[in-house]
Structure formats: C-alpha cells, structure tokens
Symmetry: D2
Subunit: 358 residues, 4 copies
C-alpha cells in the first residue's frame, strides 16, 4: 500500500481470477496504478478473497452476484400466484391478518376484518420467533389447523411463517405461502428447505441486510428450483429509536429494477405503531410496492404479540379506502380475490391483467 | 451495579435533580431497585449527567426536551409563509430548481421548468457545502443576484442555503427562505444566526440526527425568536449503499405529531438518482409531507453539482402529474402560487385554505 | 398524545401489567404526566405491547429482561471449560485455526501454527454459512473427521460451527465446543438445539444485535439447561465501509458487567484484513476480553474462505509475542494448554487460577 | 439498466471525464458490459455526478480523493508539535482536563490531576456545542483566560474547541491547539478558518463520517496551508444504545495507513461512562493510537458538562499506571513534557525520539 504493485503481483491476481472460472480479464496499467477489469463470470469469486492479495488496494463489485433472481436475465417482472391470487405488476395485493394465531374466534374475526379491508390473502403466525425465550412462541400445528379452518370459512389463502427447516414440510402442507422472517434471512438451511418444497415464499429483508444480500438470500431459494418468491421490505435497523425499524421505501423501486421478483412492504413491523400503519401503507403503494402485509387484530390490547401495531375494527374503513384509492394513482388496481381454479378462466384473467398494465 | 443503591445514593440523585430546578420528584422503592420519577421541568438537566452518579443504573427520558417547537404546547399545526406561499397543513408545496446556481440562463430555465411542474418556490444554491475542497463551491453573492433576477422574471420566491454565520445577513437580504443543510444541522452558531435574522428557515435533518436531535436543532432557531421553521427530511445515513441516503418517510408523521412545524421531504438528495425521484415524491406526499423540494436542471449532464439526481425537461410532465394527482389522495391540494401582497386578500385566502382542511 | 391520559387509561395499563404477573406497580401522577413504575417481574411483558395502549406516550426498559445469564443473580464471573481448557477471568485464551477445513494437510498445518502462536483451542469450519449459494459451503462431516484427527495429533480441543438444528447432534459428537455464527444469532431453533445438547457453546453477536439482544439469545441457550456459553464480539454493521464490520470493543466490558459469561473477540472477521488482526488482537486483550479467536491458514491466497483476513506463517511469531506480552498488562496470563483429565489435578489448577486473579 | 450501453453513451461518459481534467481513460469492452477505468487525476470529478449519465450502471472509487493528507504522497508518518509537545509516531501523548472550564479552581485542580496522570497537554472547553439550547454553553473568552492562567501555573499547553469561524482568531490567540468537534466535522467555513490561522488543529471524526470523509475534512484544513492536523476518533453513531457512541478502534490503523497524520482516540466521549474510560484507553494505546484525550474533573457530580464520563481523583493512579505500562507494549513511550524552547535542544530531543522508534 502506498507503493505501486509490481508485475508479479498483477500476474498473481490474474491467475487467481482465471482459476475461479472468470475468463475475460482486462488490465489497464496507469503510471502508479493498475486496474484489472473482470468482465467474465465472477460468481465463483468472493471479492473479499482478492482483497488480501499483495498489491491489491481495493476490489469493487460493479455487477450483481446473483443470477436467477436478476432482472438482467429476465427483463419482464414476474407475478407470483398464491392460491389463485396474483402478486406482481399491475396489481396491489393486500395481505392481512393477526400477527399470531391465538384462538379460532380471534383468527376468524381478524380474517373477516381483513377481507372487509380488501385483503385477498390471510396472514397469521403459528410459529413466532421472539427475542425473549419467555415471550409467547405461537401455537404450532394447532395454529396451522386454525388457519386452515379459517381459509375454508373465508376463502382466503394463507401466508404463514416457518422458522425451522424441520417444520417446512408440515407448514407447507397447510399453507399457501411460506414466510421467512427477518431473523432468518440468512438462515441458509431454512432457505434451502423452502426452496425445495415448491410452495410460494415470502422472503423478508434481514434487519441489517443490504439489498444485494437480500437478493442473494432469494438466490438460495431460487437455486433449489423455486422462483415463486416475493420480496418483503419491513424496515431496517438504524440509529433512529422513534420507530421500531426504519422503513426503506427506496428499496422497492431499486429491488424491482435489479430483480424480476415482486416486492411488497410490511408497514406494521417497520413502524411498530398503529398510527404509522396507514401513512406508511399509502407511501408503500405510492412508491410502487406490489402489495402490503398488515397486522389486524379484533382486540389489539389483548394480543399476545405486537398488539400496538395492529389495526383494529375502527381502522378497517380507512384501510379499505386506501386500498381502493391508492393503487389507481400508480396506474394499478387492487388485486381481486382468488381466481377460480378452472385453468382456462385463470388464463383469461391473466390476459386481462396483462392488458391492464400494458 | 448489580447491587441495590443505598439511601445516600438516592438522596444525592434527588438533590442533584432539585438543584437543576426540577421541583417534582417521586421516589418508588422496590425490593432491589428504586425508580426516581422526574415530573417537573427537566430542561436544565442533561440525562447523560445523571448516569455517572453512584447507584444509577439507567436514566431514561420519557418526555420531549424541546418546548417552543413542541406540539404539546401548540396543538394546532403551523403554516410557514414564504414570500406569500404557504407551507403547512392542507396544502402540498413544490419547491424546485437547480442544486447549484451556475449561470443566469441555466437558473432561469430551471425556474421555468420548476414552474411548469407546479412549483411555487424556487430552490438554488449559491453557497454549496461539498465533501471535497476541490469540488465546485458555488458562485456566492453573484449566485444570489442571479436568483433575485430570476425571481423578478418568474415571480417565484427564493429558497437558498447559507453555510457561514457571517453570510446570514447577506443571504437574507436576497432570499425569501434560508436553508440550513444537513452538514450544519448541529452548527449552533449558524442556527442562532438564522434564528435572529427573522426570515423563514428550512432546516434539513442531520445525516445521522435522531428526530429528537432534529427538533432540538429547531429549538435553537426558535429560541432566538424565529418560529418560521420548516423541517426537511432528506435521508439518513445507514449501512445500505444502494442509495445515497435512506429516506426515512416515517419521520414525517412522527415529526408532525411531536412538533407543530411543517415537514417536507427532499427526494432528490435522499435517493441520489433521477429514477428514484418520482417514486419517492409520490411516497412523500402519500405519507403526508407538507411539501417536497426537488432538483431540476435543464442539462443535468453538464451540472456542476448533483446532476445525476436532477430531473430534466422530459420529466417535467410526469412531475406535474404527480403534483396534480397525489395531494388529493391525502385530502389536500397543491399549493397555489404566491399570494397577492394585499393583506386582506391574503387573509381571505388563508380562510379558504383553513376551510379546505377542516 | 399531546393530552394527559385520563384515569381509565391508567387503570387499563395497570391491569394489563398485573395480568402479566408483575405484582409491584407504582403510580406517580404529575400535573400533566403520570409515571407508572414496574418494580416486579416483567419477564412476561413485552415493552412493545404496552406502547399501543391509549394514553401511553413511551415505555422504557430500565432493567435487564434476561435472568439466567445476568450478573445480577450471579455476581461472580464464570469460567467455561472446553476439553479441559478454561475461558474466563484470570486468563486470556487463544483459539486459532483455519476459517474452513479444506484438507487434512491444511488443517494440521494451521493447527501447528496455531499451537506455535500459543493457541490452546483449534477453530475450523466444516459447515460454512455463505452469503452466496455459489461459494464453498464446507466439507460437512468429512471436515469434522479431519478436525477430530488433528485434535488427536495436536491435543487441541475443537471449536466448530453448526448451522442447522438437525446437525447439532452430529457436530456435537465430534466437537468440544459448538459455535453459533452471527447470521444465526436469532435462529431460535438452533439456539434451543445447542442449549439441549450439553456441550459448551460460543455465541457470536448478531451483525446488528444490540448487547441486550445478544444476551437474550444467550438466555435461549441457558433456558434449555446449558450455561456453558462464551459470548463472542465479532464486529457490528455500521455505515463505515473501510472495514468488513466495526469491532465494538466497548461491548466487552459492558457485557462482562451485565452478564457473568466470558466474552471473547474475533479480530479476523471484524476487520476483514490481515493487517488489522494484530492491532485488533492487542486492543481486544487490552480492553479485557477473556480470549480471542483468530483465522490462520498455511496458504491464505489459496484459502477457500476468507483468506485475506487469515494470518499465516510469517505472522505467527508476532502473534505469539502479543499473546505472551499483552495478557500481563491487564493482570492476567495466557491460558495454559488443556488441563489433565485427572479431576483432582484439575481442581488444584483451578484453585491456582482463582488465586492468580484474586 | 438491464441493457448494454450503446457506443454514444460510452463516448459521452469519456468526454465528460476528460472535460474534468482526467487525461488517462481506459475502456474495456466486454460482451454485455464495458468498464471505463480512470487512471488520471479525478479530483475534479464527483463520482455521484457520473452515476446519472445514460448507460452508467455503477461508479466506483478505487483511489483516495484527498492528496495533501494522503500517505501516498508522504510515506513517512508526521509528528505535530503543540507548544513543544510532540504527537506522532514513537510516543503516546496524554491530553487531559475538564470537558468544560467552569472556574479557575476547578480548572487548576483538573490540570494538576491531569499532570499527575502523565498528561503533557491540557484540554478544556470554553465554547461548548450542546444539543440543547438550554444546556450550559461554556464561559467563552473568560474560559480562555482561565486556561491561559492555568497553563502559566502548570506549564501545560492548551487544547480547546472553537465552534464559530468568527471566534477562530480570538481562540487561537490563547490556545496552543484548536479543536474542531464532531458536530462541526463538515462545517467547511470553520475548517477553512482554522486552516488559515496556522495553529495546530485536532479534528474530531464526524458522528457519522466515514474514514474517507474525515480525511476529506482534514484536506480542507490542509488546503489552506495548515498541515499540523491531528485526527481524533471519538466513536461513531450506530444502532447500539449501551454506549454513547461506538468507539471504532479499527479506524486508527486504517487512518494511519491512508494518511501521514497522527491519530488519537477520545475514550471519554465514545463510551460516555467513567467505567469504560480505562479499558478503552488501554485498547486505544494497544491498537496503536498516537495519544488519548480524556475528561478529568475534580468533582464530576458537580460538573456542568459530561460529568459521568470524567475520571476523578481516585482514578488518577490507575490512569498513570496505564500511561506508564501500555505504550511500551507497542514499542513506544509516554510523551515527555513540553520540550524546552531552545531550538537546538529540541532538535536533539527529536533525534532521540526518532532513534527510539527506528
């Protein structure tokens, strides 16, 4: 450092790069500096690895290290279908329900409220990852059964979290979409397991994940053969303590530009306070999110998990108005309820949707 | 720590608190812990100060340390008038113009574009704080003269930055509103100087300022007798590198709840990229911001400062559409042009505005 | 907000708190504010839950939410024994070895270098969590077998990472200490699994975990009956990009004050560059860490993982000097090699160690 | 984005770069990507500027944008002399004293304690930048006079903060070294003013400044002709709330590698708690800092500013021991008191020092 690399350093770097399978290497020698440009496949090359080689001052990554989820190789944005409900371009999908499934009654009421607000998918947690081992951890399979019953009664397909690779099969046998939470965003064993099970996955952004790391996590799922992935921005950790997390709305247009996957926003967990949910929902739709996922509870003060951020009866009308009004301002419409299962009707509806956004 | 405070520690803390002028102190002794609640005036007491006293485990601030800008003492949200243009509840104000004033021609063209997009105030920098001493630092007073000429030609009142307390008087003699930038958000000498000059001030949030620190900075201005302050969220520093800064849209409803001052958003400096400006502008208005401030340049590729984030001719129609459409979705309307100087007409327009938002 | 809570709000909060099992509640009513102090057991109460109740302005946590790992209930600092090697007060333990096990030869050479530097425990990864699915993921059980062979040859007990709850039993059958990595710091299924297996655990701090969250993660392990936990600070995520992570040396004295568990530092993964390892090792010991864990590789330029941060042959002498010199400046000594298995001799050595630090 | 740049885009970028004065541009065209390497002088080119041009996916800065403070052009590390006291390689300098000058008696006592601990420079604030306008702001010139008197009595040269460009001349007429605080780290008017006054400057790192931005701030001072700059790391803002700031010890070896300027650490303001000062001081010296600056107060519980982090009488012996013991472990010694003013004796002492570190 501080001195120019000598020729042998440069040769060593080039060799190392070529060994990794990158076959297009360009060297530009300046008076005191040399730039080695890697234009071939660098997927086998960890930039951190190169940094320790003699003479290397810096290694910078210009192109994306992910492939399957990259928009470069798949310019058209994707739609993910969950139990007949589309999430993707042209529509704005509302997913709503209780943070945690507590009782059949509470779940059914929350689902009915969700529906009244315009939701076409039901969220609800049976397995809850909690910071404290002393906090309510969810009902487990009993919770899944409640969700399945409520789906029967309301027609709303189910989105629910899975936290342990061993549970993936069980959860997938009940759920229409599996959720991977922020604390598991780099739990690679779990990512691989949901990649193999072949159900749609909602992947929350890690609490301190860069957009690139988030897409790499999606790549883990994709690499196991599952491209039905919806990305969910839910706030990142910053120095600000007035909110639970800082909602990063810019991540939506950026992730949509870098990846073909749909991107939604969770305004409940980011803000952490009921008063912020509607403003952040409006912002989410306005910035272009393909949907929102919102906590709803019939009696938030008795909720076993995250009550303070749950919308309740008196908010449903306002949420319904937001869901009716806001999609239009970005040239989209609220996602209709689950499509009929008849394949030919579905196909025709898809064509209509595609027409709408063309 | 780890052991209970003894009685003399508790007495010492109480004495210290009372010396500071806080006259309402409540002590709750538990088995192994004691809570000392301060319910009186704690403005002379720095929480950090108490933390070092014997027996003190933690000091937590429950109530706001600011007063003049607090909404507690001023429940109605304020409107700040800039050269006859209101910024505040009921309206959404567009401030637009070049990041830096370069030439009369460039500034006039940018102002005309701004106007076409619906702007009622012109932004433009004559003094530019730049990370590098080798970057363009602005035209200084020559730039102010250009701005004044363009105001004459277009009727748009001027918002411009001041970076040195010594320049405040000069800048205020040209400007309709003074801007304090993110790097000077805790430059207390500058805050006091703009507090004394009696012109409206736009106070950008510090790059790593909490919402509380931002409001404390506003309190510095207010304390010198100037309450015509508009808060401007412009993105905060986080670990994410895909954007220049992370726009914290949640800060808008929170600052509006904590303070009576108007709050606007700068979508240009937060995102740092032209493609993000319109989505972030939509999000800003949707979340409830009282206005937006946007970089516009007739020829961004030749801009001497922040060209990549400036909107240009081809974007003006889109911005105008956003400014027409979006305010309505939050029950507001775009701010009309500067009010006539006749006091009675102004008063009548104010009444109309107030009616609109009631 | 902005108005005083009325009596029914206060009653509702108190009831909620008492339902949770907290039986010591003190109310201090001021003119416009009321403080409700909770002095009883709040372990069943999530502070976030209270924030949404009517009239609640803020909820602040003064006391620690963890119990088993807290120093409050266990004032003497603990020593964790790993295959006869102590980690805890009075000594400074060096754990060293390759980031990833690649071949028997590479692992043995790295172990011999580690030993020469003063290490008494061998690190080495057989299961590697990698940001990219295309990067080397470790040898799995074949790697564990190599580690066991090298332990036989060098006498160094083994520390190795486990990433999947399903692998815990297998990994524990080879390892002397299980490592939970930064990406799994809130993988609760994994924490519970290592808590049940009854082997010592090294718990790395999450990339963006507060010290409190880190201790809560340890509490998950402890709650399953395993208190043989060593905390490892390895750098946190910040805005600074010059280092891979920002090493938080202050976390060591703070965690040692809040918890009785030993705390060590990983200077390799925090800095991410070989040149930083020795300065950060000196800082780690000087600040009071109970040990350090360091990457060593016989040929870093060929390493399959994190080569740039690995020390190599030419650095061993310097590391050995640091390990000889630095512990003394904080009144400690380098940890001796594994204790003989004879219980009575071990007990006598423990007494000697305890004498040394008294 | 997502499509290859066409030839005219590439030409436009090259033209723009050349206009800025960078005369060495190398183009490497790949199948779908093109790398444009800039090997000439890029000091007039803001990387952000290029990012908005058509076809540009990313702009990355490989080389440092600062020159005068860069170690590239000045491989030998510099020593800055303050009233005859050296700060730089080979020595470890202790600067100590009260956070704020309150009374002659308090300042003299703090100075005597500082001296007893081994300090060779006296710190003390007459102008205090405080987050709250209601907090004690310092005694101003009266404080400077007290400092000058105490210098007379103790022989300790003075380091004191300046916060307003207008005060620089006055403060420099009393002080031996001017301090620029963290809140003013990008107050360019102030940086230029201290650059012109020709007194040594201690430049604290901005609360959220990258190491590069910190060096750019130093470049502002250097560019006005003043290279007597000492960099001071004082903790950065992160999500962690257990400390006032997160002390970034890694910044010391990195800044020393990138710049020839001396780098010291402030363990008082980073930790924010007395208990952390000694551990962080040991870490600071161990990591290689050229000095430390520490708050000392004869009666911290009565301090008007930052009492909880001030060392006091009972800590002086411990600090003295640290200052005696720790420099040796990194092959240095504690800085001796101010050099005699006789030039020839000074020169001889300098030679001795240089011998010591060779």
């Amino acid at each position: 450092m501080g001195s120019a690399p000598d020729a042998s350093d440069i040769v060593a770097v080039i060799e190392r790069v070529k060994e990794s399978g990158c076959d297009d290497v360009r060297v530009s020698r300046g008076k005191s500096r040399t730039i080695i440009g890697l234009l071939g496949d660098v997927s086998q090359l960890d930039p951190v690895e190169l940094r320790g080689m003699a003479g290397v001052v810096n290694v910078v990554s210009v192109f994306a290290p992910y492939k399957l989820v990259s928009r470069d190789n798949h310019p058209e944005r994707s739609t993910v279908w969950v139990g007949g409900v589309p999430i993707g371009p042209g529509t704005v999908t509302l997913i709503a329900g209780p943070c945690a499934v507590e009782t059949p009654q509470q779940t059914l009421e929350a689902a009915q409220m969700a529906r009244a607000a315009g939701a076409t998918l039901l969220r609800g947690g049976a397995y809850k990852p909690r910071t404290s081992p002393y906090a309510f951890q969810g009902l487990g399979e009993a919770g899944l059964r409640i969700l399945a019953d409520v789906r029967e009664q309301t027609g709303l397909p189910i989105v629910t979290e899975v936290v342990d690779p061993d549970d993936v099969k069980l959860v997938a046998s009940y759920a229409d979409m599996l959720q991977v939470g922020t604390r598991n965003a780099q739990n690679f064993a779990l990512l691989e397991a949901v990649g193999e099970i072949g159900k749609p996955v909602m992947l929350k952004r890690g609490m301190s994940a860069t957009i690139e790391e988030w897409l790499m996590a999606a790549e883990y799922i994709a690499q196991r053969g599952n491209l039905d992935i919806v990305l969910c921005e839910r706030g990142i950790r910053t120095f600000e303590t007035a909110t639970r997390n800082t909602l990063d709305v810019s991540a939506v247009p950026i992730a949509q530009r870098l990846s073909h996957l749909p991107v939604i926003i969770d305004p409940s967990h980011s803000g952490g306070h009921r008063d912020l949910v509607l403003p952040l929902t409006r912002a989410a739709i306005a910035v272009g999110a393909d949907g929102v996922i919102i906590d709803i509870h019939p009696d938030p003060e008795q909720a076993l998990c995250d009550g303070p951020q749950a919308l309740t009866g008196s908010d449903i009308g306002d949420l319904a108005r937001v869901m009716t009004l806001m999609p239009a301002v970005t040239g989209r419409h609220r996602t209709p309820s689950a499509m009929p299962s008849d394949e030919s009707i579905q196909a025709s509806l898809r064509r209509t949707l595609e027409g709408a956004r063309a």
